[in-house]
Symmetry: C2
Amino acid sequence: MNSDALRGHMDALILSVLEDRPLHGYAIIEALQERSGGALNVPTGTLYPALRRLERIGYLTSEWATVGGRKRRTYRLTAAGRRQLAGERSAWQAFTAAIGSVLTPRGAG
Amino acid sequence: MNSDALRGHMDALILSVLEDRPLHGYAIIEALQERSGGALNVPTGTLYPALRRLERIGYLTSEWATVGGRKRRTYRLTAAGRRQLAGERSAWQAFTAAIGSVLTPRGAG
DNA sequence: GCCTACATATAGAGAGTCTACATATAGCGT
DNA sequence: ACGCTATATGTAGACTCTCTATATGTAGGC
């Protein structure tokens, strides 16, 4: 599963996996896979530009680190990012309620 | 509510409101508003191109009619459209399950 | 005559996701 | 030494859909 359905929901996903602890890009991809039960396979060409965008907006900050000889850029939620995450969550509820009520079969009634 | 979140879900919405009976474009917009409790306001610049695309793909057929002096183009689901609708519904279930499990807060656990 | 509701349609902008490619280190097996 | 896989970040360009704005026309109420 994937395609373009994620469009517009990537922000919420990224902010959500960063809620409890900072992570670097590669680890975010793995976290999304794990937490979705393998359903979400976000390509690097999607994630990295999204992270930069989120940082530019002010929802994330990043720091470089070297671990085991490999460079990592670790992303952390800002206060604005946490507020945005809360907003994304309620927007998600409204979104699924709206789509769900349209998608529910009505039968012949 | 609206924005770009609908991207990738318009097809399912349109096919779903056409499931029970054929409708013309304007009536589809109204049906989406009603069934979503006013949450979905699909602009004509979104709907009409989408209907043409769906017809081109083979999920819909259309017929012109004149009612009360006004011309209407009425869209009807094809057999392929009904199969697609079934697929869209199960895809929607998988989609919400995946996103939902990522968005669910984990606390300090 | 004017406004609103009904009804369809297109052009162009805009934005985000995807594919494909480029680069580099670490560790394993042979 | 060589190749492969996992780890790790990043960009360019194509793609596709949605949105805004605009255009056209009929019907009915005031």
